[in-house]
């Protein structure tokens, strides 16, 4: 069973694109460690190699839709709710210097 340490928590926060305050780091470390202690009970189960994972409960093969052109949402309505935009694009902070 793994334990959640503050270092691991910091790493997971970084992977999650979250920045934790010191208080959050302490609380989340304790809480997630308790959750992991509970999920550790899955280790009790002797899982036969033949048991495959279930990703989806319904046996569906991925269907192909007909490749037919159809209307899309007007560009303005899609760009409308963006925090920052210009006429045709979403605008984000500069990522390339120069």
């Amino acid at each position: 069973m793994s334990r959640i340490t503050p270092e691991l928590m910091r790493h997971v926060a970084e992977l999650s694109r979250l920045e934790l305050s010191d208080d959050e780091l302490t609380t989340f470390t304790r809480q997630l460690d308790a959750v992991l202690a509970h999920v550790a009970q899955l280790e009790e189960l002797d899982l036969d190699e033949a048991i495959e994972g279930t990703a989806h409960a319904v046996d569906l093969t991925c269907p192909w839709r007909a490749d037919e052109p159809g209307p899309s949402l007007p560009r303005d309505r899609v760009l409308g709710p963006a925090p920052e935009r210009d006429e045709a694009c979403f605008v984000v902070p500069r990522i390339i210097e120069g």
């Binding site: 793994s2 959640i4 691991l8 928590m9 997971v12 926060a13 992977l15 999650s16 694109r17 979250l18 920045e19 934790l20 959050e24 609380t27 989340f28 809480q31 997630l32 308790a34 959750v35 509970h38 999920v39 550790a40 009970q41 899955l42 280790e43 189960l45 899982l47 048991i51 495959e52 994972g53 279930t54 990703a55 989806h56 409960a57 319904v58 569906l60 991925c62 269907p63 839709r65 949402l73 309505r77 899609v78 409308g80 709710p81 963006a82 925090p83 920052e84 979403f90 984000v92 902070p93 500069r94 990522i95």
Partner: protein
């Protein structure tokens, strides 16, 4: 009889027959909301103007003799994680506050096309992650109409509270691990989680895509059938929607069932072991099972041996999927963007830090951990394999029974704040409802009594995939023989006084 407690099909029939106008019905519900929603906080957005306009437009069409849909004038409200064109859809989160979607999700479009009147958007735990509707940064905690110091359950707590208090005739919620059924039980209403794939997920704000499903909450099983009838069916915009639709009218027809002769009702032994439900809950559920026996059913003990592993399995799979689904909230295309970031990465991180509440952060991090290098096989991989065992338990059980009867929740509505700060205790509230989502089954919760303290209790009926007709039929037979579902919270009773002409 108050206009606010009339059955869905009865309301639609009277409005379509012009015995009463859609506008009057809408006004009565808006008035009920005006009186009670300050205390309940069931709505995040109450769209009085939009609802009245829709109702008047419908009355004009009726006056001209035009054909109308099956939910003609029925006041319906939507959980705020269902995307609705022109009406803020926030998922209860600061990160989406102010987002006015440019399109309708499929279930919402179908509700509109059936001529229901949409009153507004309902409170929920942020991103549907919770069992109490307390983590709602935009509106604040929603309260249970039976006792406002208690939670309504969650995450569709606003939906259950609004239906119970007569703020709407029916509601649409979503259920990823019990989020329709558990609040339905805690507020004394009926709620159905359909078979995975029965209702399109297009336009549902994704939490855990292999578990999420849209479904109805209403004051009777038959009302749930009337709503599901409208929203169910294949959708080319959701590749997981089941290609085979329902025969029109089949769900309402199923609700005519009164005799349960020969129905095999499985009672899973594991659900009453290991602490089990509180004594009041167990008593009410066992009495409900005896009532089913009196209607002709044959209860029998069954076993679902992997039940003790459901909570662990669910919280690894659901959070893993959530961590991936919620990656899209990055401050670029909609919702919040943090100010003052000097780089793109800093903008992402700060936006997410400011925009997500504590429970959402916890789940994103648990899911990220379960999927991360070095832990993937031990956590996510193992959980997926245990999911296979849980599903297999049900396949075997349904060889011996037609439906399974269990408590919906191990306890009645708990106090506000009681489980906050202890996520694991909150997760354990869903112990009886999670397996249904892991196995993709339909599940119905319906009122089956009250605790000694006067709080509603719920019976859960589970069926094999696509067995909605059976569940609704059994539920309707039970409701024809009992009146638990007709009880109203005292707070709601005196509020609206208008009588049906």
């Amino acid at each position: 009889m108050s206009l606010c407690f009339v059955d869905v099909t009865e309301l639609a029939r009277r409005i379509a027959g012009r015995e009463i106008s859609a506008e009057e019905v809408t006004r009565a519900h808006l008035e009920q909301a005006r009186q009670l929603d300050g205390a309940l906080r069931a709505f995040i957005t109450l769209d009085a103007q939009g609802a009245l306009e829709a109702a008047r437009a419908l009355d004009s069409r009726l006056a001209r003799g035009e054909p109308v849909g099956p939910l003609c004038g029925v006041p319906v409200a939507l959980k705020d994680n269902l995307v609705s064109a022109g009406l803020q859809t926030s998922a209860g989160s600061r990160i989406l506050a102010g987002w006015i979607p440019p399109y309708d999700g499929t279930a919402v479009a179908r509700i509109r096309a059936a001529d229901a009147v949409i009153l507004g958007k309902l409170n929920l735990d942020e991103f549907a992650m919770g069992s109490s509707t307390e983590s709602s940064p935009l509106r604040g905690p929603c309260c249970n109409p039976w006792d406002t110091t208690r939670v309504p359950g969650g995450s569709s707590g606003g939906a259950a509270a609004a239906v119970a208090a007569g703020l709407c005739a029916g509601a649409l919620g979503t259920d990823t691990g019990g989020s329709i059924r558990q609040p339905a039980a805690l507020c004394g209403v009926s709620g159905l989680k359909p078979t995975y794939g029965r209702v399109s997920r297009y336009g549902v704000i994704a939490f855990a895509s292999s578990l999420d499903q849209v479904g109805p909450l209403a004051r009777s099983v038959r009302d749930c059938a009337a709503l599901l009838e409208v929203i169910a069916g294949p959708d080319p915009r959701d590749s997981t929607s089941i290609p085979r639709g329902l025969a029109p009218g089949s769900l309402l027809a199923a609700c005519a069932r009164r005799d349960l002769a020969g129905l095999r009702v499985g009672v899973p032994r594991e659900y009453f072991e290991q602490g089990g439900p509180e004594p009041d809950v167990e008593r009410a559920v066992r009495e409900a099972i005896e009532e089913l026996r009196a209607l002709g059913a044959e209860p029998r003990e069954i076993s679902l041996p992997h039940t003790p592993y459901a909570v662990a399995t669910y919280y690894l799979i659901a959070t893993a999927e959530a961590s991936s689904n919620l990656a899209r909230y990055d401050g670029v295309r909609f919702g919040l963007r943090a100010e003052g970031a000097r780089s793109l990465d800093e903008m992402y991180t700060r936006t997410r830090q400011q925009g997500f509440g504590a429970e959402v952060k916890r789940r994103i991090m648990l899911g990220t951990f379960a999927l991360s290098t070095g832990y993937y096989e031990a956590y996510y991989g193992r959980a997926q394999r245990v999911r296979t065992l849980i599903r297999r338990d049900f396949t075997r059980a349904f060889e011996r029974c037609d439906v399974i009867a269990t408590p919906t929740s191990p306890f009645p509505a708990f106090r506000q704040g009681e489980k906050q700060g202890d996520p694991l205790q909150m997760y354990l509230a869903d112990i009886y409802t999670l397996s249904c989502n892991l196995a993709g089954l339909p599940g119905l919760s319906l009122p089956c009594g009250f605790s000694a303290g006067g709080l509603p209790l719920g019976l859960q009926l589970l069926g094999p995939p696509l067995a909605e007709e059976t569940l609704l039929g059994v539920g309707a037979a039970y409701q024809a023989a009992t009146d638990w579902h007709r009880r109203r919270p005292p707070l709601a009773d005196g509020a609206a006084q208008e009588a049906l002409p």
